[in-house]
């Protein structure tokens, strides 16, 4: 690292089209936790027809409504999807939620329409399911217990050898069948957890920030720790809420 303050570049994919369920809280969490450590953060909102900034360290891609998802899927085909894939292959981090997760996979198969192609970064296939999974969700993972709120009817199945983000403790997860939630390829993550996810799961936020810094600077010292009393209090309330309802 140079003597000037380190910097971090976040690309927020389709911020206006894919922005339901408070997923922007994830971008707020990444930007604030980096800023609190003296890192210069830039957030690029990248919409339809706009190129991916070349220096992106962390991608964020949230959930959207059906029609938005069709437009976005089309826009991602070709150079844009390839740019994201090569950035992730070079170590960039990514967090994708719900619709964003599905479009980072191979494809999404709706009930009554043509399959939507994804960018194939995750070897997963998603399809419309018969019921909607709605509720608080707790997942055991390498970042400890993660807590979020799921609200999806899409079922996602992982290809052989692809790691999930974790095992479902409370809730339904990827598909309600195999006990997995999310997918992980290199430093890219996908899952169904809204909440927003990162503000209540600070360890996961910091892991993404560290991966982003490593992508930019190579080996970096560990992040200094922050006072996470409020975050952990919210985490504890949410996991308690999830467990009591079951």
């Amino acid at each position: 690292m140079t003597t000037s303050s380190p910097s971090l570049s976040i690309a927020w994919l389709y911020a206006t089209k894919m922005n339901i369920y408070g997923d922007r809280g994830n971008v707020i969490a990444l930007a604030q936790r980096a800023t609190w450590r003296g890192i210069d953060v830039t957030v690029h909102e990248t919409g339809i027809g706009e190129a991916i900034p070349e220096d992106t360290d962390i991608f964020f891609f949230g959930g959207g409504q059906d029609q938005s998802q069709v437009d976005v899927a089309r826009d991602l085909q070709g150079t844009k999807g390839e740019a994201i894939t090569s950035a992730v292959e070079a170590g960039a981090a990514a967090l994708t939620i719900c619709g964003g997760y599905q479009l980072f996979g191979n494809e999404y198969r709706p009930h009554d329409a043509e399959p939507l192609p994804g960018i194939g970064l995750f070897d997963v296939v998603s399809k419309a399911g018969p019921e909607r999974f709605i509720g608080n969700v707790v997942v055991e993972s390498q970042w400890g217990e993660l807590v979020g709120f799921e609200n999806h009817s899409g079922l996602t199945f992982l290809g052989d050898g692809l790691k999930p983000m974790g095992k479902v403790v409370v809730g339904r997860g990827n598909n309600g069948q195999d006990g997995t939630e999310g997918a992980m390829y290199r430093n890219a993550l996908g899952c169904y957890m809204h909440g927003a996810l990162l503000p209540k799961n600070p360890k996961l936020s910091d892991w993404l920030i560290e991966a982003g810094l490593q992508h930019r600077y190579g080996d970096v010292p560990l992040l200094n720790s922050l006072d996470d009393t409020i975050e952990l209090h919210a985490h504890e309330t949410a996991t308690g809420r999830a467990r009591r309802a079951h």
Partner: protein
């Protein structure tokens, strides 16, 4: 127009009786207002009860829907119609599912099922609108706006929009549709229908927003998918919109609100222009969102031929509904309670609270619950622009089942730790601790979600505080 009929219908009579009796029993047991369970029972006895009772309304039925403001707007309309000497049946208690409508009508009917009212004002929630419209065959429908609200309950906005459109397509020119033309989603839902459409909206460059807030839902054209632009943006995605792609734009307005003057948290004034009149309105409730509600009520009631002077006089007397904006004195402190239930509504409340100085001026308690009526998913807190509260010196406290989520949201909005207090989740403990931190005689604000509001109100009522409304 439905034809009143008084032919005796034994099945209807038994359903009406069951609804009324069960309501009385519930109230006697002290289990709340008893506003929805009786409707469920009545519907089971006579599935046609809502259709039959509304067909017997001499002056027909008015259905009011929209994510925000439907309770306020329907109360304004009911009050105006009462001032016009019409007898009104209105599901006032905010129980706005099908069963709430049934219960309200049954409660105001004779045992034989003859409504004791000339006109019904039925407030309905987003999910129930298609059923309520089908059953009541309304003479008038008022659509205020369509925002994201409780996605866990209603599903995505696109789904709601499709269902509304489906219900409206079955109606003809005998139904008048009063619709907010500033909402591009509502315009595409109501384009090319057979109903008589009357549009309303705001005009002018005062009070516009600099940019589309994050909570806004429809920034794209429903016809062609291109980004929408705005000559002026007033609340969330409501404004004088146009499409950059296909050229669709806000249509000409039948009723236009102009010259809006907002008096902080107290009141507002506005002029409503229609074809050949300009009606000056003074309203006893504050906030730009209430300008929309009043404009909708004026458009509806003038269309119903209520005189302009009756409309203006009734609105001047208007006060806010249960918990939506109430002022109460409690242990010597002057409290203002404002219901918050979704990102758009919360943003407008924050805008009102910070309008005069750019920051919060009074200590504020935010109470967030996650029960069914609040929405079980608290993700929506991240769509509210709490960043508005980062500056200033007023303390912000949090409570409720998910008060810790709220505290966390405020931390990430940049509210310094010294101004932030995470109180116990139990309302009774939190309220007293919070009150003790406020000097006697000072003003303070409580922003609760729906069930948190019920908790706060119950605590205040237990001490007799809610009878003591304080004057400005």
């Amino acid at each position: 127009m439905p034809i009143p009929s008084s032919r005796f219908d034994p099945r209807l009579a038994s359903a009406v009786a069951a609804s009324r009796l069960s309501r009385q029993v519930i109230q006697r047991l002290g289990r709340g207002g008893g506003t929805s369970a009786p409707g469920v029972i009545a519907q089971r006895l006579d599935p046609g009860i809502l259709r039959k009772l509304s067909a017997r309304m001499a002056n027909g039925t008015i259905v009011v829907a929209g994510t925000n403001g439907k309770t306020t707007t329907s109360r304004m309309i009911a009050n105006i119609l009462e001032s016009d000497n019409q007898t009104v049946i209105h599901n006032r208690s905010g129980s706005n599912l099908v069963r709430g409508a049934i219960s309200a009508l049954a409660d105001h009917s004779t045992w034989a099922g003859q409504p004791r009212g000339q006109i019904a004002v039925i407030e309905t929630d987003e999910a129930a609108l298609p059923d309520v419209v089908r059953d009541t065959q309304p003479r008038m429908i008022l659509l205020n706006n369509l925002f994201r609200d409780q996605l866990d309950r209603y599903g995505e906005l696109d789904t709601v929009a499709r269902k509304w459109r489906g219900a409206l397509e079955l109606l003809d020119e005998r139904t008048t549709l009063i619709v907010n033309a500033d909402d591009p989603s509502l315009m595409s839902i109501t384009d090319n229908l057979r109903v008589h459409r009357v549009t309303f909206g705001l005009h002018g460059q005062d009070h516009h927003l600099a940019a589309l807030p994050h909570a806004a839902d429809s920034s794209t054209c429903r016809s062609c998918g291109a980004e929408l632009g705005y000559h002026a943006l007033y609340v969330s995605h409501l404004g004088d919109w146009y499409c950059n792609g296909c050229g669709r734009r806000r249509p000409d307005l039948d009723a236009t609100g102009t010259d809006i003057v907002l008096h902080g948290m107290d009141s507002l004034a506005m002029t409503v222009h229609r074809i050949d009149e300009a009606l000056k309105i003074d309203l006893g409730v504050p906030g730009l969102y209430n300008a929309y509600n009043a404009l909708a009520a004026v458009a509806a009631c003038r269309e119903l031929d209520v005189s302009a002077s009756v409309v203006a006089e009734s609105l001047a007397e208007f006060r806010a509904a249960f918990g939506r904006l109430e002022r109460v004195e409690y242990k010597g402190r002057l409290l203002t309670l404002i219901l918050v239930k979704n990102p758009v509504g919360f943003n407008e409340v924050l805008r009102m609270l910070t309008a005069e100085t750019g920051s919060l001026v009074a200590p504020t308690l935010i109470a967030i619950n996650d029960l069914d009526a609040d929405g079980r998913d608290v993700s929506w807190l991240w769509d509210v622009d709490f960043e508005l509260l980062a500056e200033g010196s007023a303390a912000i406290s949090t409570t409720g089942i998910r008060g810790t989520d709220m505290a966390n949201r405020l931390k990430y909005a940049g509210v310094p730790g010294a101004r932030l207090e995470s109180l116990p989740s139990e309302m009774n403990r939190a309220l007293d601790t919070w009150i003790d931190s406020i000097p006697v005689g000072e003003k303070a604000i409580i922003l609760p979600t729906y069930t948190a509001m019920l908790d706060v109100r119950r605590l205040l009522t237990d001490t007799g505080a809610t009878d003591a409304f304080w004057k400005q």
